[in-house]
Each structure stands twice: as C-alpha cells, then as structure tokens.
C-alpha cells in the first residue's frame, strides 16, 4: 500500500541512479525464505506482516511491546535514498521509507549501562520455509553499538519507493545501516534489546573469520572469499570501486576513531 506524508530527507544520497523496483524486489538475500536470490520473492507469499508487534526491552527505562501502528503514528516518515552494498560484491541504490532509529531509542530511554543494541528477526517455520534448514543459527540476530544505532543515518524502514515493504524486503519493519554490509540490516524485526555486552550475531556465529561484528563496508579489508575492493552495481557491466564506509565516511568515520578496522572488521 502507498505510504502517506513521506517527506524527502536531506540525508539522502544524491546524484545516483535508483535501481528499479523490480531489481530490489526480485534479487534478495533472506535465507528464512531460501538461499537463492529468487527464493524470497517466490516463497514469502504466506508470510503475514500484520498484525506486528516489536518488543523493546533490556537496558531501557520504558520497555514494552510496540505495535507497528504505534510506531507509524509516533514517527514521521522520510524517504532515504541509500546505497546498499552486499558483502558478496554487488550493490544497489534504494529509496527507503522509514524513520531514524535514534528517535525510537529516545522514546524507550536507554539506561546509562546500555552499550549495544541487539535485533532479532521473527521465526515462523510455517510461513518461512527456509527455517527448515540449519543454514544459520535461527532466529537471525544482528547487533550494533549504541552510538551506531543512534547515528542519524541509521533508520528503521517500513517501505521503499513510497510503498510498504514487501515480504521479501523484510516487511513490515527492518533496519537499514547504509555504511555496513547488507546483512547487518536485519529484516522483519520482532525484538530490540539494549545490552551492556556485545550481542551475538548469526553470521558471526556461523563464520567468525568471515563476518565480524562491525562489518563496515571497507575496500581495504577483503572477505576471505571475495575481494571487497570493487563491486558490481546491479544494472552495470563493469565493476566500480567500492568506497570506504560505502561512501558515508564523512558522516560516520568519527564513530571509529582510534579503532583498528582491520582487526575489528
């Protein structure tokens, strides 16, 4: 359905050609629906994104269950055009619709002890056929440092191209962190927990030497199986140079001052 009152954000990436909706909705990594890129669209028809509740708990002053309607009423929606860089070496430009995660975090009042945010994807075997296979440690989990989660570029997306998210894109509520590899932007979130320690993440549990906690886009640090120096923008033939922090370095490099990004990959 079309989303009303979406205003354009000054934080959008400018001057880049958007990938068509068809690319964005047909070429997805969402292993709960299958491991092929075409599986999420083909196998997500039975998934019910409504009604939806997200539990927010842990180190917060106001824990609680928030319905999607609550969130949509409370936070004005913005269009955010971001590059999405997959760890596999391809990228897209996507016009997301959502609201800053920092606004939501403000409402729940993180305690002084909160240092990290853990996100969990819904786990419904009857609606998500990929969960039958132990490809990853289900449910899918991701995490951010609290300051990363509070960064203005970090958003909770509920739509793209002005319409509500389709199931294959992580309906009805997902994270988008544009300077990190795509797998950090966890889909169909049912739980947000603020923690004192660094949360475990599904990909890091599966292959710790390949997928670090940070997973910032970094052309100088190769994935063991892929060079990260270049990427193929879907729709283009020749690969292009990958930019540090996916081109968002001006805004986010400060978060990592003094951190060895080779060790903390």
């Amino acid at each position: 359905a079309a989303l009303a009152n979406v205003r354009k954000s000054p934080l959008s990436t400018t001057g880049e050609k958007l990938n068509p909706l068809e690319d964005i909705t047909s070429y997805n990594n969402y292993y709960e629906f299958g491991t092929d890129k075409s599986d999420p669209r083909a196998n997500s028809g039975r998934f019910k994104p409504a009604p939806w509740t997200v539990k927010i708990d842990g180190e917060v002053g106001k824990p609680g269950d928030y319905t999607l309607e609550d969130l949509l009423q409370r936070f004005p929606l913005e269009e955010r055009i971001y590059r999405l860089r997959c760890v596999e070496g391809w990228s897209m430009v996507i016009p997301w619709v959502g609201f800053p995660l920092r606004d939501l975090l403000k409402v729940v009042e993180p305690s002084a002890k909160a240092k990290f945010v853990e996100f969990t994807t819904v786990q419904r075997p009857s609606e998500m056929p990929g969960l039958r296979y132990p490809v990853l440690e289900w449910p899918y989990r991701e995490g951010l440092r609290l300051d990363e989660a509070q960064h203005p570029l970090t958003i909770m997306a509920v739509g793209l191209y002005g319409k509500t998210l389709l199931n294959q894109n992580g309906a009805p509520l997902r994270l988008v962190v544009p300077w990190k590899y795509g797998f950090k932007s966890i889909k169909s979130i049912v739980r947000i927990r603020l923690t004192t320690g660094q949360p475990q993440t599904s990909w890091n549990l599966s292959a710790p030497e390949e997928y670090g906690f940070y997973s910032n886009v970094n052309p100088q640090v190769d994935h063991p199986r892929w060079s990260q120096a270049r990427e193929r923008r879907l729709g283009e033939f020749l690969r292009r140079e990958t930019l540090m922090f996916n081109g968002y370095g001006d805004q986010v490099a400060g978060l990592y001052r003094g951190l060895d990004l080779k060790r903390n990959f």
Binding site: S26, T35, P134, V135, S206, A207, R225, S227, R232
Partner: protein
C-alpha cells in the same frame, strides 16, 4: 515402454525386462541424442539471456549455471564405467569421450564467464583471486587437470600414449574432487546441501570403481 526405451538407448534387446525384437541403436545413431541432451542446458541459458529471464545480476546467474552443469556433466561422464559394469552394457563406453568433451566445454564456458564477464580481463584482480581465494585456486586446478585430458582425447593420442593414456586419464577423478571442493568453498552459511549431494554421488561412483578394482 521402459523396455522399448532401454532397447533404443542401449541397443540391447535382452534388457532387464527381457523383451526382444525391438529396434536398437548403434553409437552412431546415439550420438546426435547426446549432442542434443548436452546442448539443452546451454540452449536454455541462451533463451533466458535473450528473453530477459535472468535475475538482476545476470553475470552471477551465468557463472552459477555453467558451473553447475560442468559438475553435473562431469558426474554423468564418471557414471559411464560404473553403469557399464553394473548393467553389463559395453556399448555405453562409446559415449564416454563425447560426454567428457561436453563437460570440458561447460567448464570452459564457466571459466570464460569469470574472466570475460565477471572480471573483464582485469589481470591484477584475477591473479589476486587465484592466489588469495582458495575456491578459485582449487577450481582453476580442476580446469588445468581437465585441459590435457581434453587435448589427449583424440584417437591419435590414445594410440600414441598406449597404456599411459589410461593412467593419465585417471586424473579426472582428482578434477572431480576439485569441482566438489570448489562448490563446497563457495556456499555460504552452513548450507551444505548441494556440495553434499554432488560429493555423495562422486563417492558412490568411486566406491563402485573401488569394488571392481579390488575384486
């Protein structure tokens, strides 16, 4: 129906169902069928490219597709001898060379997709890939093993090499192992279904050989 098919394909009329007086097929008649069957995946790929039925990342699709069919045809080629032994069907041996050469054809398509479409002849990144990425190293090893086997597949070379020809061509088993490991090292997460399937088929085919070797 089964009996008729068996007879047509094998040229035997004393097949498992024991029916006789059915038309039989000589290797010369069978070859066009192998050509047709082996070119069908390529035709399907070309059709998908031309009609725009590939995904948003067509180069990856072509790489995956040609890689998968390389491994499948390699396993089909390696099934010839076990089938010959188990079914007592000696005629099938005459199809082996053609199946092997079609395997090599798909391997060449797979490799050239990587070199031309994926890397666009970028020597620096190709060399870096070969040195740093073990799945590419092992894949290329498989290709380099198959290359001399393809060259020496002609009747002239078989005659010239004599007994050594068979010893040389046993390296195809190593190439198949390279192919399975190549796939195993590409899969992400703990999704071992495909490499496990191809690996077990290879293991069964090798076990049958081992049984006849040690008998």
């Amino acid at each position: 129906m089964t009996a008729a098919l068996w007879a047509v394909v094998t040229g035997r009329t004393d097949g498992p169902l024991g029916e006789r007086s059915l038309p039989s097929m000589t290797p010369r008649q069978a070859k066009p069928i192998i050509w047709l069957l082996c070119l069908t995946p390529l035709a399907w790929l070309v059709y998908r490219v031309v009609s725009g039925r590939l995904s948003a990342n067509p180069i990856d699709d072509i790489t995956d597709f040609t890689g998968q069919w390389s491994l499948r045809l390699l396993l089909v080629s390696l099934s010839v001898t076990p089938i010959r032994r188990l079914a007592g069907w000696n005629g099938i041996i005459q199809w082996r060379r053609l199946l092997g050469l079609f395997t090599f054809f798909y391997v060449c398509l797979h490799l050239s997709t990587y070199v031309v479409l994926d890397q666009f002849f970028d020597p620096t990144s190709i060399v870096a890939d070969i040195a740093k990425r073990r799945y590419i190293t092992v894949g290329l090893t498989g290709f380099l093993i198959l290359l001399p086997l393809a060259i020496t597949s002609t009747t002239g070379w078989i005659r010239r090499l004599g007994r050594r020809w068979q010893r040389l061509h046993r390296f195809v088993y190593l190439a198949a192992v390279c192919g399975v490991i190549h796939l195993l090292w590409i899969v992400k997460g703990d999704d071992l279904r495909e490499p496990a399937l191809y690996g077990s088929i290879l293991a069964v085919l090798m076990a049958i050989r081992a049984y006849y070797w040690t008998r």
